[in-house]
Structure formats: structure tokens, C-alpha cells
Symmetry: C2
Subunit: 457 residues, 2 copies
């Protein structure tokens, strides 16, 4: 049976790619108000696609912000396992636009890759499973397992309404395992299964001094400059060893000797990573390897900073205000709420008394470690081995997928993180791409996974 | 004779104000490319005005960037002194626009003030002398001294071409004394003569890390973040006492005990200064008074900072680049070129080895101290006393007027800094204004000055 399904997928690669190009053409940037209509359009597109391929009970649920698209097929019977596929149809902003070699929302095929914002994160990856399901329906008229799809539109802004949505639809979403493809494998010839994800605490620190911009000649020297003060606060958040100085920050960090041994065995390409970053020298927390730093250790980064005159030339002002977006990637068992609280307290402490400082919270997500010893993970290993011709490695991921923590807490189910991206996909950056070969291999892997899962249970 | 001239000025106040409103309506922002036509228009307006009031040899000289307007009247005879009036018709950018209560280029009269960008800095102040000259021509048909006007359009970008212009026109500009009205008096009832000006060294520090913006999840922890690095550099430029840490920075600073005594006697309104700034607490270099900090001591301020994602919401990037405009106000005998050199070296030293740092120079100007014991200063004292009804105090100014150093070095002449602004004029800030009463008193003072200067020599 599986062979016919695989054959169907192989004879429709062009159709599948054409459809994916349609989806990534929609600039569904969830963080920018002006793109609300595009976000709606992408949701509608995903819903229509679900109906087209044969999913049932398709609905687009409104939330406080962007809708969730749901569809299912539950006719495999009560004894067959139920898989809940999660993905997100929203994307990151495309700026800086001038660094794109192609238009971010005019998908372009070059060297076996599809270049577009959202190609890998996450439209291309979520689409894999829709095409796998379609291939089953077209060849077998049925799926080997029960399936539910929940595709959201707020992942790139931290999934603020997804928790409530899951609470409100617990029955509808009930499943045995969640399947999420929103991560990368180690290399084209080295598939991998992610068993750890970092969490997120995203803040905005606003420093206010004078109640208006001042002439730096008439006032300079006599008043605390909020931009200088902000720089001092940021500089005070890390020491010269790259350690974060927020008191208590590392209290709940769990990365034991056994795990460090596992990570040490991962065939991580440090040279490739360095070249992908585009720097001469990497840097990070002392006494940890690069792979540990980017997956198993928490971080603190300025994501944006602004204040005063930023046009061309010279304007001699002392700005009234300066601000920075500062986010921390968290690892088990750090708690985002606690981290934001101790971060805010420390920022207050670092701020000189002549300025006001305000810390706003944009998003939080819990870090996750998944159990590697389950039937679903076994099925995923089989599927990768057949789809990519090589057994997958186990690794952690540095990124954050807020929903994984919610699935554990709210639905009590494990998640299989079945990534099809590559480390050089430039997620969130200019020139994001999705490897087209991985797209097709991904559809194979998804087909094999559903089959193996049905057989395993 | 002077009485008739004063009477003429008094009977034409409305005309004079109407004309000034015309001039400040022109958005002649010298630092922004899109305002080049407006800068040209302002130059033409000033040239036309010179012709209208009776100046001769009026010419608009092109430079590498913005033109210099010249006009003169030299029929007072070879024994009469020659005064070279300097002013600038260009203005600072108006942003942040949303903090203006009126439109910056739709001059508005409120509470005896004229609100508009450039009203005080420097259109209103330079216009005082044109109206003084006009009053003489209309009543006496002549001036008591020879006069030359040089009105430039690049002051707000650091007068990059004025040095060359003066070199090229040394003969044309030859004079006995320069007269510059581009500063403030201490209070409406306390005129003052500025005898010291700070210089300027304006730089832009650009820090580059990764060759493109990175996903902070996939890469965070493994790479030096240029925005964090920039913050560290800025924080390293001052210690907790507010002292600038650039090695050798204070080497040539001259503020001796005698001068500190002079400054201690200035009726400086610290409470008013604090309220004007709009902060609860002032701050500056330890062991110095506020007046010393803002006039006699050098400074280092961030004028603008930017990098990464600065839109609304959350974008999880590590920026490829971050930059800051950092300027230093200098005092005698600091040399801008040397300061920029040692600053750049120190910034390089502070920068971590995993980023590239580049220091660009926007502008430099030498600091100035003028001799208080000259016939011209004596004439200015007399003029202020008659114009404002009170003897002027001597004080230093925190701002920079690049031309004053050039007059000393290139033409070998002293400058009288005859300000008519007030400390709360909000130069370079939203809601800049010029006190209309000071405008009229300024015209009186200019008339008295020319008369006293002719009598003194």
C-alpha cells in the first residue's frame, strides 16, 4: 500500500511545488498590523487546501488576534492512534528588504531551493503533511491513523492565544501524539530528531530621561543620556565570559553530564555553522561547546535597539528616550514568567536613578525536553531512515516552538519534532529558503511515519 | 541719530516679525537630502532681503554643498571699523514630529513667542542685524561702521565647507571684528556675553558581526551579537563618576580656579535648567557644578542608536549590524582631530574581537575662548545695557559655533558672541521658539552696538 502512496507523491511533485509557491506568496506577517488581511488570506488558503485534499470538519476559528485552521479525518477506527499535526501559516517580517537577492514574497527557485519568506518556517514544512495525507487519500482512500490538523497564525509573535484555544477545544484536539515539523535536520544526508527546544522570554526595555530631545551643546554634561544609560544596562546583563548576570538566572538550567555526552556525539558541523553565520570567530559562554551554547544553554540577545537621531548626517541631540528589544532563550527547567520577573528587577537595579526604566513583555514560552523512548519516536526513526536513507541522530534545537510545551501541559501528549529544514535555511533572515529535495523527502518521511505508527501501536 | 533709528525699528516691529515668519517657514534642513531645494530657497530669500534693505555686492556663493550668502556696505570710510556678521539660514531636522504642539514650519505666535524650527537657531537671531542695518539705512541713509554679512547654510552639519570658503575669500571677508548672534542670554532680564564655546567631535560607530540577520533561536548563544557589543563599547566610554575613559581625553582641558570662580558668580538658574530638561534629578561629572558641566567641561553623548528589528511586536533576530552616533563637546584646548583619533583607537580597543568596528567622522569644530578685554566687547556691554536695561554677565556656552574658531585662525579677528536666545528656546528639540520681545530688544541692542563701536574706535 505504502508503495502506491509514495508513487503518487513522486508523480505529483510539480503540482505540490506549485501549490506551495502559492502559499508562500502570501505575506502573512503576523506581527505587523498592515498585514492582517494577508494573514486572513493565508488561513483561508490553508482551510481550502484541507477541504480540497479530503480532510473533514474543516473550520477557521477566530481568536483574539489571528485565526486557527482546523481539519481532521478520524475514520481509522478507535484502535488506531490519533496524530495531531501542528504548524503555523504566519511568517516573520521580511526586513531588511535590501538584503534579499529575490523578492521575499515572489518565491524563486534557484539551485534546488525555493527562496521566499516562510518557505522553510513553516509553510513548506507544514505542507509536507498535507501532501502526505493527500497521497494516502488518492491511493488508499483512507489514512492508516486518525489525524487532526491545527495550523495557527501567531507562532512568530509567541502564540499568545493558542493556549486559550487549546483549553477551549481540548476534546476536539484530543490525540495520542503531536507531530510538528518546524525545525531542521543536521545536514541533507544526516536526518535528526529534535528532543529539546529552548523557551523564550521576549521583553522591551524603554529608558526615559529628559521629557523632550535636548540640544547636546546646551545641555550635554548636565543630564543623564537615556541612550548611554540603556547601553550601560545592556552591557551589565552579561559578563566577559558570556555569562548572563541576572541573579538566579541559571538556577533551573538542566544540562547534565550524560546529555553533554549525547550532544558531544552529534555530528555538528562547526565550520559550516561559522560560515553560515558569516563571521571569522564564533563566541559564547565559556566552557561550553558551540552546539551546547546554541541548544542546551540559555541566551540573552538584543534583537533591536533604537533612540535619538538615526537619519543620515549629524544631529546633535540628547534623546529623550531609548529602547531595546531584549529576548532570552530558555532551557529546561527555566520558567519564562520567573525569568521575566528577575530580569525586570535586575534591569531596574542596573538603571541609574536619573532615568525611568520600563520593561514590557512581548512573549514567553516554556522550554521543552521530550522523551526519546516512545512508539512515536520509534516510528519517526523508521520513517527518517526510509525517507532519507540514513538513521536519524538525536539533537536539541536552539529555537522555540511554544506549542510543544502546551501539548504536554494541556493535552498530556508527547510531541514528535520531525524537521525537514536545513541549518542554512536563513529562518527570520533575508534569503530564507527551503530545500526542494527535502520537501519531497519530507513527504516520503511523513507517509512512512503514519504507516509505521499504525503498525507499531 | 540713534534715537531716530531706534524709533524706526519700533514703528516697524510688525513688518519685521512678518518677514521673519516668512523666513522660518522655509524648511531649510541642511542634513537631509530631500530638503536641498528648501535650503536653496532660504539662501535666495536671505540674499533678496539683503538687496531689499540696501546692502551692496550681494552674492550667493555655491560651495560643495549649501551656498553662502554674502552682502556688504563699506562706505563708512577707511577709519571706521569693519564688522563681519555671521549667521546661518539652515536648521536642524524637526523630528520627532509628533512631539511638536504646532507645525515646525508653520510659525505660530503664542504667549509672546514665535514657535518654529529655526526661530531662535539661527534665523531669528541673524535677522536682528539685518533689521538693525535697515533701520540705519532708512533713517540715516548710512551705517556708523562698515559691515559685511556672511550667512551660511551648513552650520547644523558642522560647517564642512566654510573653512574653504573663508580661505578663498579672505580679502572679501577682511574685518576688524566678527559679530555672531547664535546663542542665549541667561534670562529675559539678565543679558550675558558668551566668552567661551565648546567644540565638537561627531562620530558614527558601526559594529558588524554576522553577515546577515540571524534567527536568535538557531544561532543565539554561539555568536557575538553586534548590538550587545555596541552597548558594551558605549558603556565602556564613561565611568560611574561620569568621567570619559578615553585615555588622554582630558589632557588639554583648561578650566582653572580663576575661571571656576567667574562661573560660580554667574546667576545660573539650576532649578529652571532642571525643569527645562524635564527630569527629577540632574547628573554629570563628579566634583563639577552643572554650569561647569554644560559649558566648561567636555562631554560624550549618544545622539542616536539603531540596529535590528525596531518595529512593533517581537522579531527574534540577532542583527548583523548596530550603530550609534556619538559626539563629544570639546573645551579649550582640546583638538577635534586628536580627540577623534584617540576616541577611535579606544573604541577599537573596547570592541570584542568577534566583531568589526568602524568609526566614521561627521564633523569637528575647535572650542573657543575669546578675549574679554577689547573695544568690541566694551561696545557690546554698552549695547546690552541700553538694549536690555541691565549690564550683561559673562558666561560660557555649551554649544558649538564652528565659525568662531575659523575667524580667529583664518582672519585673525576676535568674535563678539551677542546672543538673543533664551535657555528654554528648545534649540534642536520639538517646540523651538524665539522670544518676540528679545527679537525687538535684539534689534535695539544691535543698533546701539554699531553706534558704540563707531564711537569707541
Amino acid at each position: 500500500m505504502t508503495q502506491a502512496t509514495i508513487a503518487y507523491a513522486d508523480s505529483h511533485t510539480e503540482d505540490h511545488l506549485t501549490e506551495l509557491i502559492e502559499l508562500v506568496s502570501i505575506p502573512s506577517i503576523s506581527t505587523l498590523r498592515e498585514h492582517i488581511p494577508d494573514v486572513r488570506e493565508a488561513a483561508q488558503w490553508v482551510g481550502d487546501q484541507m477541504v480540497d485534499i479530503g480532510l473533514e470538519d474543516v473550520r477557521i476559528f477566530a481568536t483574539q488576534k489571528h485565526p486557527v485552521v482546523f481539519g481532521q479525518w478520524t475514520k481509522a477506527g478507535p484502535d488506531a492512534p490519533t496524530v495531531l499535526v501542528y504548524g503555523h501559516y504566519d511568517v516573520q517580517p521580511a526586513d531588511p528588504l535590501d538584503e534579499w537577492r529575490t523578492e521575499p514574497f515572489e518565491p524563486t527557485i534557484q539551485d534546488g531551493n525555493l527562496y521566499a519568506r516562510g518557505a522553510s518556517d513553516d509553510k513548506g514544512q507544514l505542507f509536507v503533511h498535507l501532501k502526505s495525507v493527500q497521497s494516502y487519500f488518492e491511493t488508499a482512500g483512507a489514512l492508516p491513523v486518525n489525524m487532526k490538523f491545527m495550523i495557527e497564525g501567531e507562532e512568530e509573535i509567541g502564540s499568545p492565544n493558542l493556549g486559550d484555544f487549546i483549553d477551549d477545544h481540548r476534546e476536539r484536539l484530543s490525540a495520542d501524539v503531536a507531530l510538528v515539523s518546524d525545525s531542521s535536520i543536521l545536514a541533507p544526508d544526516q536526518p535528526s530528531i529534535v528532543y529539546g527546544l529552548r523557551g523564550l522570554a521576549y521583553t522591551e526595555v524603554v529608558v526615559t530621561g529628559p521629557d523632550h530631545d535636548l540640544h547636546s551643546g546646551s545641555f550635554g554634561g548636565g543630564v543623564r543620556n537615556p541612550a548611554n544609560a540603556l547601553a550601560g544596562i545592556i552591557a551589565g546583563l552579561k559578563d566577559s565570559d558570556g555569562r548572563i548576570t541576572v541573579p538566579g538566572f541559571y538556577d533551573n538550567v538542566r544540562l547534565d553530564a550524560e546529555e553533554r555526552e549525547t550532544l558531544a556525539k552529534v555530528p555538528f558541523d562547526e565550520g559550516g555553522f561559522r560560515r553560515e553565520v558569516g563571521v571569522e570567530k564564533l563566541w559564547g559562554e565559556a566552557t561550553y561547546t558551540t552546539l551546547e551554547r546554541i541548544t542546551g544553554r540559555p541566551t540573552l540577545d538584543v534583537n533591536g535597539i533604537w533612540g535619538g537621531f538615526t537619519g543620515e548626517g549629524a544631529k546633535t541631540v540628547i534623546p529623550s528616550r531609548a529602547a531595546a528589544k531584549i529576548s532570552m532563550r530558555l532551557v529546561p527547567d527555566q520558567d519564562p514568567e520567573r525569568v521575566i520577573r528577575i530580569f525586570s528587577e535586575y534591569v531596574e537595579e542596573l538603571a541609574p536613578p536619573e532615568v525611568q526604566v520600563e520593561v514590557r513583555t512581548h512573549a514567553g514560552a516554556v522550554p521543552v525536553l521530550v522523551d526519546r523512548d516512545t512508539p512515536a519516536i520509534e516510528a519517526a526513526m523508521t520513517a527518517y531512515e526510509r525517507g532519507f536513507g540514513r538513521a536519524p541522530a538525536f539533537t536539541r534545537e536552539g529555537g522555540t516552538i511554544p506549542v510543544v510545551g502546551m501539548f504536554a501541559a494541556k493535552l498530556g501528549i508527547p510531541t514528535v519534532l520531525m524537521g525537514f529544514g536545513l541549518p542554512d535555511d536563513r529562518l527570520h533572515s533575508p534569503n530564507e529558503k527551503f530545500n526542494i529535495d527535502n520537501f519531497y523527502k519530507g513527504i516520503h518521511t511523513s507517509i512512512y511515519f503514519l504507516n509505521a505508527l499504525a503498525a507499531n501501536e
